[in-house]
């Protein structure tokens, strides 16, 4: 459906993207000298306007369910602004620091999407490990500033290469992706149906089925007099209904020492947490990929060692050894025939 709030429907997304591209182009200009027009400040304002228009355009395509999401929009603004500054900054070290800002704000976005484990794993691995490697190499390969270096940064860091074609490519990428996501796919704008929610709930209980200790803990919290948990059909602990509720049959101590069966319904808080689900999916659904990932890391380690190692100068003897030839020596009778083995 054509959105009512959209400003330039149906081209609003592309116009907003083009405005953002113009802003980025101005931000890439070399910093203005004193007294000239502040091109970069102008670019920042235009880029901000482009981002705001994009947000309005995208939100206006969604049927109204609650207000504007404040935290995601703020975090997204920080991420995009830091990414822009990273791409346009003259000094690579500062650009790497801005990239850390991108990582932290997208970790915040992960939190709004209930991906708690990945949010903190991202900060630890990206901001903590990978970026430190980058900083280390940046310091290692630091350029000594040559003459006339006032504004900081080397010549090749100050001047962008072919900004106009690059921005055209970036704009086409932006327009294509946003068209695919926000125009062509109506299911993105719909709220989850109750059938989808029930499916997701059943998937969660299926995951909990693999954690018998957690089931027992939850059951004992609800029914402290539990003596034993009974397995149902097929040895299952949980009895999951079609609408996504789970019950456990337990034996409870009765009045006169006998035990009687009782059904305990598990609350939604008994569902596995995000970290448990990620760990379970990792080892239960993708074990081969996990092994492959470790092989990739090992190979990368070997590769880095081989690449970064200082090339040792081989002497004549070592080179002959490597070629499978006999070492040269003066009292070798074969030397008269060229020294071949």
């Amino acid at each position: 459906m054509p959105p009512s709030l959209s400003l330039f429907a149906p081209y609003g997304l592309y116009i907003a993207g083009a405005i953002g591209a113009v802003g980025l182009f101005l931000l890439m200009r070399p910093a203005a000298a004193r007294g000239q027009m502040p091109v970069r400040a102008l670019g920042a304002i235009i880029g901000l306007a482009g981002f705001g228009l994009l947000v309005v355009e995208v939100l206006s395509r969604i049927p109204d369910v609650g207000g504007v999401p404040v935290f995601p929009t703020l975090l997204g603004l920080i991420a995009v602004a830091a990414a822009t500054r990273m791409v346009t900054h003259n000094k690579p070290v500062f650009a790497a620091l801005y990239f850390i800002m991108v990582v932290v704000s997208s970790a915040g976005l992960f939190l709004t999407l209930h991906a708690e484990f990945m949010a903190f794993a991202l900060i630890i691995v990206y901001a903590g490990a990978i970026l430190i490697t980058y900083m280390f190499v940046l310091m290692l390969a630091q350029q000594t500033p040559s003459g006339g270096d006032v504004e900081g940064g080397t010549q090749y860091d100050r001047l962008p290469r072919e900004p106009v074609p690059a921005l055209a490519v970036g704009f086409i990428m932006l327009a294509t992706l946003s068209d695919a996501l926000f125009v062509q796919s109506p299911e993105l704008r719909a709220e989850a149906s109750s059938a989808q929610l029930a499916d997701a709930a059943r998937a969660q209980w299926t995951a909990l089925e693999l954690m018998p200790k957690r089931i027992e803990r939850e059951v004992r919290r609800i029914e402290p007099a539990t003596q034993a948990i009974q397995r149902g059909d097929g040895g299952r602990l949980l009895d999951v209904t079609a609408d996504g509720r789970a019950t456990v049959r337990v034996m409870v101590a009765g009045d006169n020492g006998s035990s009687q069966p009782r059904d305990v319904e598990l609350p939604a808080s008994a569902m596995p947490t995000n970290t448990q689900l990620v760990g379970l999916a990792l080892v239960n659904s993708y074990p081969a990929s996990l092994e492959l990932a470790s092989v990739i890391l090992l190979m990368a380690m070997f590769g880095a060692v081989v690449l970064a190692r200082k090339q040792a100068e081989l002497g004549e003897d070592e080179r002959r050894d490597a070629a499978g030839m006999r070492r040269m020596s003066l009292d070798d009778p074969d030397m008269s025939r060229g020294g071949r083995a």
Binding site: V55, V58, I62, V65, V68, P69, F71, T73, G76, A79, V80, A83, M86, V87, P92, A96, F99, V102, S106, L109, T112, L113, H114, A115, E116, A121, L122, Y126, I130, T133, Y134, V137, A141, T154, Q155, Y156, D157, P160, R161, E162, P163, V169, G170, M173, L177, L188, R189, A192, L197, A200, A201, A268, M271, A281, Y286, I296, L297, A300, V305, L307
Partner: protein, 130 residues
Amino acid sequence: MTSAGVHQLFVNIATVGGPSTWIAPPDPKTLAITLLVSVLLFAIGLVGFLTRRNMIMMFLCTELMLQAAALAFVGFGRMHMDVSGQVFVIFILTVAAAEAALALGLVVLLYRKRETLSSEAWSELREDVK
């Protein structure tokens, strides 16, 4: 800010799209903003890769594009209420770490040969366009 305040801030951020269980229905607006940010980060990373001359910056821009892909993975995973998207982010992290190790090893090697990080120092590697 006290530690209780910080905790409350995290709880506030984490409960924007509804109650703090994974089963809560995803908020389409939060999803849309996430995907928009992901698209923008990817486009900015692409532009950066094409315009920067510093080899380290070029690799940093690929990391930005990987980051955008990770955001999209988590966003779509939330949309389908499935954790597979987050598992793929773990593999993205693996690939990013491997790439950082290899690419930076390569950059150090190239820097030793030419004493500059500019990618144009190696422009004779391309085929001559007549």
